[in-house]
């Protein structure tokens, strides 16, 4: 018999397999910050189990928890029963959108991307003082947060690429729109087409992305398969910089925050550490690192929809920075930099950078 909702058809066996052990509570960033059981992965699965039993229906009443998940994948990594909660949540959000139950912020983002080129609906992009859409070996794809919110960090990364004499070009990029798939919608075909055409026109053999989410979208979504079919490689900037010699070092105590999109979602843990260790002989791991890293709280649409809770999650992560007494937190995701910086308290004197930005400042002599 066909189930009423697609999540039950696709993932019903997994929802039922959740043994209610609650081990996900130990790692769920939303639960950890709010200490409310209904926000944990187990809470969400119990609610979906009741939807499957017919005790309750998907409805607006469930938005508060089902749309409050950063898709950080910690629960899946720690689930003894192998329940893929992030995928179940993504499907459930699609089901919710279909019946007209959606968080207004998520709905808003989908609307914005119908009429604009980026998630912030900003129509005048920063030009980063560089010629765009030229022929080059690489395309550097910035992403929305790097373009419109962390533009200083991006400028620094671009300066570093120039110092390293990389033959790259920027393009008139538009949002990759991968995030829509987390929010219950589909990738915007118009935006995908535009990015593909612009990339192909440069004749580049590879796209370097500053944003790990964009990287993931280009690599895994069928709407961008053409890039792979035409032999264009997609690499995150940490993969690109790995193995390079920068000739600079810092004597500061440095730590590294694993972005969920780079770590748990792509399995890239060692490349960034290799770079960081090269420039920072004094390196300390955060208490939760690599596959166990705590999410900064920005993902899955949570920063837009639940800003207060998103900041609370970032604050928990920054407490771990305080614990190790680091002077500098490095990461390589503008979304993480943005959320962590917004959450930083005045008394917390450490600095938060992308790795590429930090290296550039060391080379420049300003750091």
């Amino acid at each position: 018999m066909e189930a009423k909702y697609n999540f039950a058809d696709r993932f019903g066996d997994q929802v039922l397999r959740c043994s209610k052990c609650g081990l996900c509570q130990a790692v769920c960033p939303v639960f950890g910050a709010m200490l409310r059981p209904s926000y944990s992965a187990r809470g969400k699965m119990l609610i979906l189990k009741e939807v499957m039993d017919g005790t309750i229906e998907l409805s607006d009443e469930l938005i508060e928890t089902l749309f409050q998940c950063t898709i950080c994948k910690s629960c899946f990594e720690n689930c003894p029963s192998g329940v893929d909660v992030p995928e179940i949540i993504r499907q459930t959000r699609r089901d919710m959108v279909q019946i007209g139950s959606c968080h207004p912020a998520f709905e808003g983002m989908n609307e914005v991307l119908k009429n604009h080129t980026n998630i912030y609906a900003e129509d005048e992009p920063e030009d980063f003082e560089r010629e765009r859409n030229k022929k080059a070996k690489y395309v550097y794809f910035i992403g929305c947060v790097g373009s419109y919110r962390e533009d200083e960090a991006t400028m620094s990364t671009l300066d570093l690429l120039d110092r390293l004499k990389v033959d790259y070009t920027l393009i008139d990029e538009v949002c990759c729109s991968g995030v829509l798939e987390d929010l219950g919608y589909q990738i915007n075909e118009r935006l995908a087409r535009k990015n593909i055409d612009l990339i192909l026109a440069t004749g580049a053999k590879a796209v370097i992305t500053g944003c790990p989410y964009c990287s993931r979208t280009f690599n895994s979504k069928p709407q961008y398969a053409e890039l792979n079919d035409k032999g264009i490689k997609i690499i995150h900037v940490t993969q690109f910089l790995k193995g390079m010699d920068f000739g600079v070092k810092t004597d500061k105590l440095v730590t590294y925050h694993d972005p969920c999109d780079l770590g748990r979602h792509c399995g890239i843990y060692e490349e960034p550490r290799e770079i960081v260790r090269k420039i920072a002989p004094r390196f300390a791991e955060l208490r939760h690192n690599r596959v166990d890293a705590l999410c900064c709280g920005a993902g899955g649409g949570v920063r837009g929809a639940y800003p207060k809770n998103s900041i609370a999650m970032a604050r928990r992560r920054l407490q771990e920075v305080e614990e190790v007494g680091a002077d500098v937190v490095l990461t390589e995701c503008n979304s993480c930099v943005h959320n962590l910086s917004n959450a930083k308290l005045r008394k917390q004197k450490f600095r938060i950078y992308n790795i590429s930005q930090f290296i550039n400042e060391l080379m420049e002599g300003t750091e």
Binding site: C21, L23, R36, E61
Partner: protein, 459 residues
Amino acid sequence: MDETVKKALLDIVREENFSDSLIDLISDSYDASEHKHRPDVAVWPQNTEQVSAILKLANEYKVPVTPRGAGTSLSGTTVPVQGGIVLDMLRMDKILEIRVEDRLVVVEPGVVYDQLEKALDSYGFFFPPDPASGVVSTLGGNVAVNAGGLKGVKYGTTKDYVLGLEVVLANGSVLRTGSRCMKCVSGYDLTKLFVGSEGTLGVITEITLKVNPKPPAIATCTAYFDDMADAGSAISETMRSGILPRTLEFLDDQCIVALNQGTDLNLPEVAAMVLAETDGFTQEGADYEMDKVIEVFERNNARGITRAYSPEEAEHLWTARKSFGGVITRLKNNFIVDDTTVPISKLPEMLTGVKAISKRYNVPIATMGHLGDGNLHPNILYDGIDPEEIARVRKATADIFKLGLELGGTLTGEHGIGLAKAEFMPLEHDEVAMEVMRSIKRLFDPNNILNPGKMGLEV
């Protein structure tokens, strides 16, 4: 629920610590057992004063109150079976004092076991009773069910470490029990009365725990047995051989088959596997005890004994045991995990008896356990769709309890009675004992508002 009560609760805890939203009522309906029931409201008190005000109110309006920690109970202990208020203690989560010079810590009930472990680590101390759910379970919950763990064989269970408590009684008054001394025989031992009382006598708001210096040296081995009774004998003989291992974990043939289906471990499909661990303050000490364990194991026909010579090798030996929780959930839709405990010398009979029950009712039972202290975990696997199958599962469960009791054992070694074993209480406790327990319940909670419906105390 009376709107006056809701309004009063809101006044006590404020909006951010109160919910009657569907999402919270559903998630608080469950623990890790197969039981469920919705509460009417959930509240998150921040301090003892709020707990006191809530209980006073609930007592006045005769509203059931079910205290809850991480909700990892395996017996339905935290399921609000009569509705009412779920008192979620998670937000009282501060470690108040660490006084290693006095060998104690003082914590709020919402502190997670693992949080305390990490805090104590830098002092070279630890809190030994470590439930398998220790990364999430709260100390309040551990005390309320007198949780055990993997090191119980040497270090005992939670009750052996609780020095004192602060408890809010049903009428809202605040009781302090015990002391902050290593020894105390002043008056009745009220502390012990509350440990394992499953939230039926009062709400724990502060806990004083004894802590131990952490032995840095560990020795680990695994062994296989072709005959399950040999494994049982090996374990009981180890326990009388003059040494005291900290862990003796057992997995039966069904567990091994499940592990081979769900992992790439490729274990030999024998009747039983045992993991032993010894510890001490010198490596020589831990190794001396491990030599003895291996000697006993060999005498009881163990084969394939593997000893770890590094922490990595030890970690590898633990893989099978640690993977079990994951594979067991994938065999069938449902499982009931019991914790029947028998005198150590009765292990061989108990193990073969459980096998016979599995066969009698044609119900798969994968038995593992912390056998060094006689604590079995028979996992009864079922789909839960066919009523006839469910009836067989119920009979098998009842027979396991009866067998355990016949052998001089107990219904529960570490999970508690809750809802799951409530109906079996009179099998273990005669009418005199049951009536004493009921009188205690009436004394502390005359209106039966505290976690009602649990432990088989209601006539």
